[in-house]
């Protein structure tokens, strides 16, 4: 099948645009999404195409963005609410965790909350401490919401569409580092191409060690796998894609083959994605375990401004390779 390389931001824009054409109830709201054309240019051209009613600039009011999306969704619309970056979504944590995620439960199923929160996420580019987070696990802590974090263009397309069409609230994060990165998308891709919520993906097959990652961590894992292959070590890269639900079955399948696992993530090490995956592995796969489960995450500091120490704090492919070699 013919494929074309497309940047992840283009794939996200295409998915969102098609969903707005498909369903009149889908609309976009957020800071600078309309006249500014989107801070990350995801909504470029939307105002002209859909008008002010469906492409709504908001004030800098994250609590209201988070909560208004809940109310609109309860009332039957399907809001796609953008947080300019995930750092600002901390201000909306109550709306997300206490309302989006819980309204259905505490009224025992009376309401549906079919919304998507989109947020740019990630470390780096000397953005400094308060603008440098990949805190998806914080949001994935809460039952009632799903969390999706794509690692390439095709996944972003299919995952965002699935999120918009689902009747549950979804927090959808888009790695800033991956926005400009091209990856192949089939030219005859159908508009109903959906990636089921909670379904992970094997991004590279291998029999010697399982590398579990999501979003930007998948790039580091794949880079490490290429390096390891030169030394004759075949790593299998499992991209979980969704942090909630977490497709542990896919990890178990791989682990039964490799008996070794390194978990790679962009975020901080304490109370983390890595901790969650490792805990599940040791609880359920103890008999298959030939080596300690290892984790590669960011260093446990706020991210500094200066370039060299910023890079020192971040994971990379070489760090993954080094940790894999410890357990072979």
């Amino acid at each position: 099948m013919a494929a074309r390389n497309i940047a992840m931001r283009e794939a996200i824009r295409r998915a969102l645009r098609e969903e707005m054409h498909r369903d009149e109830n889908v609309f976009v709201m957020g800071e600078e999404v309309a006249y500014w054309q989107g801070t990350h240019r995801v909504t470029r051209g939307f105002l002209e195409e859909f008008g002010e009613r469906r492409v709504r600039d908001t004030p800098i009011s994250e609590m209201a963005i988070g909560g208004a999306a809940v109310g609109a969704a309860m009332a039957g619309l399907r809001p796609v609410a953008e947080f300019m970056t995930i750092n600002f979504a901390f201000l909306a944590l109550d709306a997300i965790a206490n309302h989006a995620a819980k309204v259905r439960y505490f009224f025992d199923g009376m309401f549906k909350v079919p919304l998507v929160y989109r947020a740019a996420s990630g470390w780096g580019n000397q953005a400094t401490a308060s603008h440098s987070h990949a805190p998806e696990p914080i949001f994935a802590h809460f039952p009632g919401i799903y969390v999706g974090c794509p690692s390439n263009s095709l996944d972003a397309y299919g995952m965002l569409k699935a999120s918009i069409r689902d009747d549950n609230p979804v927090l959808f994060t888009e790695s800033i580092a991956l926005y400009p990165k091209p990856s192949p998308m089939p030219e005859d891709l159908e508009e109903d191409y959906l990636i089921p919520i909670g379904k992970g993906d094997i991004k590279r097959e291998g029999g010697d060690v399982t590398l579990v990652a999501y979003a930007r961590g998948v790039d580091w894992a794949l880079g490490a796998a290429r390096q390891l292959a030169r030394d004759g070590v075949e790593a299998e890269v499992v991209d979980l894609r969704w942090l909630r639900p977490l497709d542990m079955e896919l990890v178990y399948k791989s682990f039964k083959k490799t008996n070794r696992c390194v978990i790679v993530e962009e975020s901080l090490p304490m109370y983390s994605f890595g901790g969650e995956v490792a805990a599940n592995l040791q609880e359920n796969m103890f008999d298959y375990m030939d080596a300690p489960i290892k984790r590669v995450a960011a260093e446990d500091v706020p991210l500094p401004y200066s370039k060299d120490i910023e890079l020192l704090a971040l994971p990379n492919a070489q760090k993954v390779v080094d940790v894999v070699k410890e357990i072979l």
Partner: protein
Amino acid sequence: MVYFPTYMDAHAAVIKEGKAMGSPSKEMLLDWYRQMVLIREFEETCHQLYEEKRITGVYLHLYSGHEASGVGSMAALRKTDHVITAYRDHGIALILGMDPKAVMAEMMGKKTGSSGGKGGSMHLASKDHNFWGGYAIVGGHLPLAAGIALEARYRGKDDVTMTYVGDGATNNGYFHESLNMSAIWDLPVIWIIENNGYGMGTEVERASGQIELHRKAEAYGIKSFGRVDAQNALDVYAVASKAVEYARTKGPAVIEHVTYRYRGHGVSDKQYDARDDMSAELREWMDTREPIKILRDCIESKYGDVGDVLAQHRDDAKRIVAESVAFAEASEMPSSYEDLLRNTYVGSELVYKTEASVGAGID
């Protein structure tokens, strides 16, 4: 100091404009009386049941004393309009016509409760009544109200969203952000500030730089309909009617309801309301500003002796509430894992772990 603001500009406006706003009919007034005595009976029974540990939740915020605020303002709505409030929500639910049996069963955490025992006192709601719920985080429901109102604007309907918010919540970021958003988007919301003098234990003047709370509307370019004596259901109704008409076609409106809570912040804050000056203050409100008596006096001054009808409403209230207690106590508790897990997600019964997944079921 006895909390009793005397400044009531909206009251003066109502008196002045008088008939121009349309007076409620005799039937309406009698029905308001029915609603108010039902609420009072329900709330005082809840209080009693809490004391007897037959209602066991830690949170139970009663609407006694507030009755005219909800009854008078909601009388200005039509069926397709929306209502949302915070955690002092029992009265709102009853005014909208929710079944007292289901409401009482929710207090007791029963399966037959309006939220299946999942929500309790603070999370009553009814889709059938366009009641979008009681919410437990101070101010947390305010952006939801904006979102619900946005749906009406989005679809070109002129339904309004009547939103009740306590005085304490007007100091919280949600209030600022939601009112501002409602202004820039011309959302059909009536923000009703139920000012009962205290945000939990803190007097309004110790918590808010602007103690005329309705004037906060000015900061957002929102039309204020002023401060209303919310112990008088007729005043409340008159102002709410104007605000509702305004919101339908123009945009958000703010009204400040001056009222008083008879049973403290919640049933558990005995320490605070047992203070001597508080009980003196409460006595003064009950003696001079009692909403049910004010309404009764009004009805009788207009229509003469309707004592039989009113007595019938009081008897009915006692019977209905007693039946609701019997129903609730006879109802089953949710007890299974299925009860626990149900409705965390649409389309999935699973929450934490299954053989295939963690976090939620993959159907």
